[in-house]
């Protein structure tokens, strides 16, 4: 914790990143309060320009764009949280087991990692989405499956490195079971590296989900920034007049901001938490 706080002091990017993400979390949590309307309710005429009633005007159906923008925060953050959790669970599990057990299990698991790394992520994602139909759950699952290999490798590499530093073997020598070793020694040591990696995963997850929605493979009914971009760009009127200023731009900016937030945190944490980083300098 102390090292974290000192990182904060030394890295303005980290502070900014945390601030951005915290603001987004607050917006997402308080969406029902912040958004003036239900995001799918028809509350005005189509294509109303921004006014006091509709801060960013209305979309083609007559729904309030600002409310949709606010509620879209939940979608992006939900993707970030759930996809990252999935990556964490699978990546840490596979990496730990491979690093601790070694031998044939390690080899097999790393081949599994290679297979997943070799799979063409985006085309596969598109294929599955087209097959199963658009769904946020499926998107999260596919993103998780695409991103866990990198985390697994990092965890394995760290685990191996920690193993070579005596304390694992000495703990085992004293009779400690593997779970004790994991809980007491490995996880705390892995924490910083994995955290640093996972923050980038979160940013990637948000981008990929929005990207899927953007190309039309998301659920068109769902409220999300990617869907907003897709729907706005599909509309023949988007560049007639200033419609794009309030329908297209804010959603794009929101996405950019979210990804920047996660990236800044990751970059800010890296010098402290990623041993490879400092060694490469």
């Amino acid at each position: 914790m102390r090292s974290f706080l000192s990182s904060l002091r030394h890295s303005p990017l980290l502070a900014i990143g945390i601030a951005i993400v915290m603001v987004l979390v607050v917006i997402a949590a308080l969406a029902p309060v912040i958004a003036p309307y239900d995001p799918i309710a028809i509350t005005g005429n189509s294509f109303e320009t921004p006014s006091s009633a509709h801060l960013l005007g209305t979309n083609d159906a007559g729904a309030d764009i600002f409310s949709r923008l606010v509620w879209g925060t939940r979608t992006s953050l939900a993707v970030a949280v759930f996809a990252t959790t999935l990556v964490l669970a699978i990546g840490v599990l596979v990496g730990l087991v491979a690093g601790l057990r070694g031998g044939i299990i390690d080899t097999l698991l790393m081949r599994l990692v290679d297979v997943f790394l070799a799979l063409p992520g985006l085309p596969l994602l598109i294929f599955v989405a087209a097959l199963v139909g658009p769904s946020l759950g499926v998107s999260i699952l596919m993103i998780g499956l695409a991103l866990w290999p990198q985390t697994a490798r990092i965890v394995r590499s760290q685990t191996l490195s920690l193993r070579t530093r005596g304390f694992v073997d000495s703990a085992r020598g004293f009779g400690a079971g593997p779970l004790y070793v994991i809980r007491r020694h490995l996880l705390p040591a892995l924490g910083p590296v994995v955290a640093s990696n996972l923050v980038f995963v979160a940013g990637a997850a948000v981008t990929i989900e929005a990207g899927l929605a953007f190309i039309g493979l998301g659920d068109p009914i769902a409220v999300g920034w990617g869907t907003m971009l897709n729907r706005a760009l599909e509309n023949p009127q988007i560049y007639l007049g200033s419609l794009w200023l309030w329908w297209l731009l804010p959603a794009g900016l929101a996405l950019t901001l979210a990804v920047l937030g996660f990236t800044f945190i990751g970059v800010g944490l890296e010098p402290r938490f990623n041993p490879r980083w400092s060694r490469s300098l």
Partner: protein, 564 residues
């Protein structure tokens, strides 16, 4: 789904339109026969009489092949390959006389034998439903003299003139008698017809093509010298910047703002056709429960603010659908059928009466048996999302639980085919391309109790548009009778009765129909029109070959190029 990424193009569009967009390459100039550039669609198939795909494929093919009769802007059938055609007194056959001196593109003469062969040949094969020019109800074709034929029907059929004489392309016997697999034949000889144009070039993907006039065409050298099919992601933008000479707006309807640049600019003309396309909502009666309950269906329709849909989504460029299915612009429209105007209070009253009670004020409704009233509404992703949201919102407002699912067209087709849905909104037309203003036979495709595959109608029926689980013997009987009614007043009466019954029972409701718009650069070509009742099998587009050939909207006389 299409991506519209032409920032440049649209900036250019406003610039071009403002400056009075010069077109490069298209246009007649004084005294020249024009070249016209129109939109190419993808996957149209090969333009032979047996390998094209659906409506757009059909009209391309019609540039190369002719039918016995053909329509102009009056909607009347003109003698085309046939110089005369007479319905027999018993209504079971047409006597046809061919024009003299007709020749195939390879120079061989066209004979009555070719016509007879054409129908024999069609009878030997089964074709995909995308081939909309396939004849039905033909009992046989006999030569009755030199250049004389009798086309016999199996049953009396008031649609026969359009669906057979006006639709079926006549093919040369000396070529097709050698070909056993017509749908796979992609050779140049498959394109030898009597038509006004010949295929000049075609890129590998079949997207970009050009057609050049045959100056030895039997009506005379066609007025439009060359037709080019140009691919474009956004046709109206392409028209504005000069890549196309004419383009249609979206069939799903278009707002005034999008049409304004063409309406306000003298360079362009715009033609329109009401009710060219529609969005029907289907209730799956086979599911039973609320969906099979007439009162529930009527309540649903009362809950839908369809006028608002047209205003909000299309700035009024559409028409609220009639419960009798045929739109008010239709020649056979019955104005006296039951309608269900927007009335949420009435919807609530009907639902309460039907036992679908709310759990509390503003609460969700339950079925009479206590289970939650929750239905899935399926739509294809080609339908505007806003329509889905409006429909769901209207129904939820009266307490009906709706789960909205937007899926791709193929999957929706599968669901609809297997009656595996609760509520579904589709587009109308589908692959047949014959819209709400087409021959009243379209009612057969929607309301006849037989599945589309078992009940081929001269106007291609499609399971996508069947009212699921609907079976009314009286409607079936009336559908059969109206098809055989040659007297137009009698036919109107019968079709009126059908509309009356289906408006009472509403297994489906046309949410609204859209106005089709077509914009064109006047300098290039200005004789575009929407054919009353559609051309060929009843296609509702502007791409009737007649004005290209004659340079006019009516008649067979070809306009002198010096007039332009």
């Amino acid at each position: 789904m299409k991506r519209r990424t032409f920032l440049q193009g649209l900036a250019g569009a406003s610039g071009a339109v403002l400056l009075g967009g010069c077109s490069s390459g298209g246009g007649a100039g004084a005294g020249g026969r024009p070249t016209v550039r129109v939109l190419s669609w993808t996957s149209l198939g090969y333009p032979s009489p047996f390998a094209y795909t659906a409506g757009p494929g059909y009209w391309r093919m019609s540039l190369l092949f002719d039918t016995l009769v053909w329509k102009d802007a009056t909607g009347q059938f003109l003698p085309w390959l046939a110089s005369a055609f007479v319905l027999a007194d018993d209504g079971l056959s047409y006597d046809v006389e061919l024009r003299p001196d007709l020749r195939w593109a390879d120079g061989r003469p066209v004979t009555a034998r070719d016509v007879a062969f054409t129908f024999e040949y069609y009878a030997t094969q089964t074709f995909t439903p995308f081939l909309i020019g396939v004849p039905r109800n033909v009992a046989g074709v006999e030569e009755t003299g030199e250049r004389r034929l009798r086309l016999r029907m199996e049953e009396p059929d008031a649609t026969f003139l359009q669906s057979v004489l006006g639709t079926v392309p006549i093919v040369p016997e000396h070529i097709w008698s050698q070909i056993s697999n017509p749908m796979a034949e992609m050779s140049p000889q498959a394109l030898i017809g009597t038509g006004p144009y010949r295929l000049n070039s075609r890129d590998e993907s079949g997207d970009a093509e050009s057609y050049v006039a045959r100056d030895d065409y039997f009506l005379g050298a066609p007025y439009v010298r060359r037709i080019e099919m140009v691919p474009a992601d956004n046709p109206l933008t392409a028209l504005a910047v000069g890549e196309l000479d004419a383009a249609g707006a979206s069939e799903a309807g278009e707002r005034d703002e999008v049409l304004e640049p063409f309406r306000s600019n003298d360079q362009f003309g715009v033609v329109s056709s009401d009710a060219g396309f529609g969005f029907p909502l289907f209730f799956n009666l086979r599911r039973g429960g609320a969906l099979a309950d007439l009162r529930f269906r009527r309540a649903c329709i009362h809950a839908l603010n369809r006028t608002d849909m047209v205003t909000r989504l299309l700035t009024g460029n559409g028409q609220v659908g009639s419960a009798g299915f045929l739109p008010p612009t239709h020649e056979f429209y019955n104005p006296d059928v039951a309608q269900y105007p927007y009335d949420p209070a009435e919807a609530e009253r009907l639902l309460d009466e039907g036992g679908y009670r709310r759990s509390g004020p503003g609460g969700a409704r339950t079925n009479p048996d206590g289970t939650p009233l929750r239905l899935t509404l399926n739509l294809p992703d080609v339908i505007p999302t806003a329509l889905a949201e409006l429909t769901a919102a209207n129904l939820r407002d009266v307490g009906i639980g709706i789960d909205l699912e937007v899926i791709d067209v193929i999957r929706l087709f599968g669901l609809k085919l297997n009656d595996n849905f609760d509520l579904a909104i589709t587009t109308f037309p589908g692959p047949s391309g014959i819209g709400p203003n087409g021959d009243p036979e379209i009612l057969r495709g929607v309301y006849h109790s037989l599945p589309a595959g078992q009940d081929p109608t001269p106007v291609t029926g499609n399971q996508l548009h069947k009212a699921a689980g609907y079976a009314n013997a009286e409607v079936d009987r009336l559908l059969a009778e109206q098809r055989a009614a040659y007297d137009i007043e009698e036919r109107k009466r019968l079709v009126g009765e059908i509309q009356q019954i289906v408006a009472e029972e509403v297994p489906t409701i046309m949410l609204y129909t859209t106005t089709l718009f077509f914009a064109y650069r006047k300098r290039a070509f200005d004789q575009w029109y929407y054919t009353p009742g559609g051309f060929g099998p009843g296609l509702p587009d502007v791409y009737n070959k007649h004005p290209y050939i004659t340079g006019r909207q009516t008649g067979l006389a070809i306009r002198d190029v010096q007039d332009s």
